[in-house]
Symmetry: C2
Subunit: 261 residues, 2 copies
């Protein structure tokens, strides 16, 4: 676990890593407080684009985590950065929550609800989705305009053992109808990596991504050549011995990782 001791920046997944169904996982608070006290920088990283970073800030504070300003980064934040870099002058149609639309507007983007005027479509995890939104998204994509989505997770954990259709399941409705697949922006994709490097003042070898999902968290660390710590408190229940995405280290829970900070 030498990589943990020498890392300067930590990227912390939320659900399944720090908490589950609103309950802090063993050692999670202690781990982040140790990072904070030792002077390391850290960021909270989630693919959920239905809620604004400020709501996550309040939740993390209420659960006892230290939350310095601008440390919560969502796939909505990654989408805002990506669109301001590549589509700053475009009219952006959004299938997403009011919180996501506000986040994009605050980043200076022009959000359109009138599909016939859109140059780009962004889909998020839309807990306010309606059939009218699905219909106009199909119409936009059918016109051949660029189609992006905040993340490709198809299921969102709801409570222990129960899931809800997430962003990737909703984009699937559009893909099935039009034959067009979106470009995804959240973990493990490049837009999220770009977002992280915008905030990190260090080289990938000094960054550790801590997460519970192999194909989002550990895959993103691989892509960006960062270290990765897999915790077995969420989706992954066994340390993988083979496979595409092997983590730099595995711990049962974050309590076991505290000794290395």
């Amino acid at each position: 676990m030498e990589f943990l001791t020498s890392s300067e920046t930590f990227l912390l997944d939320l659900d399944g890593t720090l908490y589950l169904s609103g309950e802090v996982l063993p050692g999670a608070c202690e781990f982040v407080h140790r990072l904070h006290k030792s002077g390391r920088s850290f960021f909270y990283l989630t693919n959920n684009s239905s809620t604004s970073p400020s709501v996550y800030e309040k939740k993390l504070i209420s659960l006892g985590f230290p939350v310095p300003p601008n440390t919560v980064l969502t796939s909505g934040t990654a989408a805002a950065l990506f669109l301001t870099r590549h589509y700053a002058q475009s009219r952006i149609a959004v299938v997403g929550t009011q919180a996501l639309r506000q986040q994009l507007s605050s980043a200076g983007l022009s959000i359109y609800t009138e599909p016939s005027h859109a140059d780009v479509l962004l889909m998020g995890y839309d807990t306010e989705i309606t059939y009218d939104k699905i219909r106009w998204a199909c119409g936009i994509v059918d016109r051949g305009i660029p189609f992006f989505a905040t993340h490709e997770d198809r299921l969102c954990p709801h409570r222990l053992g129960c899931f809800l259709p997430d962003c990737g399941a909703m984009t699937n409705l559009i893909t099935e109808a039009t034959g067009v697949e979106p470009t995804y922006l959240g973990k493990p994709h490049q837009a999220m990596i770009d977002l992280v490097f915008r905030y990190c003042n260090t080289v990938p070898g000094k960054i550790t991504l801590v997460g519970d999902r192999l194909y989002t968290d550990i895959a993103m660390a691989h892509s960006a050549k960062m270290n990765s710590l897999l915790v077995l408190t969420g989706e992954t229940k066994l340390a993988p011995s083979t496979g595409r995405y092997l983590p730099s280290g595995v711990v049962e829970n974050l309590h076991k990782a505290c000794a290395y900070i």
Copy 2:
């Protein structure tokens, strides 16, 4: 085409068979008027459960088709018959349009919008779907209660070359989240066959199903041992020479079939 001449009852698919995007297909009106004049019985058969039979009646009349009473049968009609036969005393949760809920209520069923009290879930082609409906449908299915859907078509033709996510795409959201597949009731399934035989006073060998889709129309005729006429005006563009569902006959359009009536 001897089977056409000797058939006493005709089951007529709508979209792609009689009309497409609101335009009557060649010979379709003449074909149905010939059936009517020759004294044969006929029924209009569609899997679309978002609209009530009375709306289809008006549409068909406005397009010039003869529409005797109770000749429009939808997958919503099949669901109403199935549920009154098997779940007459149950509390039925419906993810569907107001038109579908009214159709079920008119059949004497108890429709519940409060998921915690439901004994059965029925999903239709819900052009009024919301994320709240998806959430409570997931919760109901997760509780292990019976899950039915009006039909499994994943796409609904919208206008030439464009489709919209249909009932089967929506049930897929629930199946993906819960791992539970629904029992489908529309074409080509047994509930639709049961509905047809409720109205037909003849043996399957004297019935011809006319349609444009192999895996719904022609498949249903196969299951029920009816004759089938494939028209190449809708989804199927070429007469199949091999495959699971070979029709009794194939015509380019219904104008070509008029000579046999």
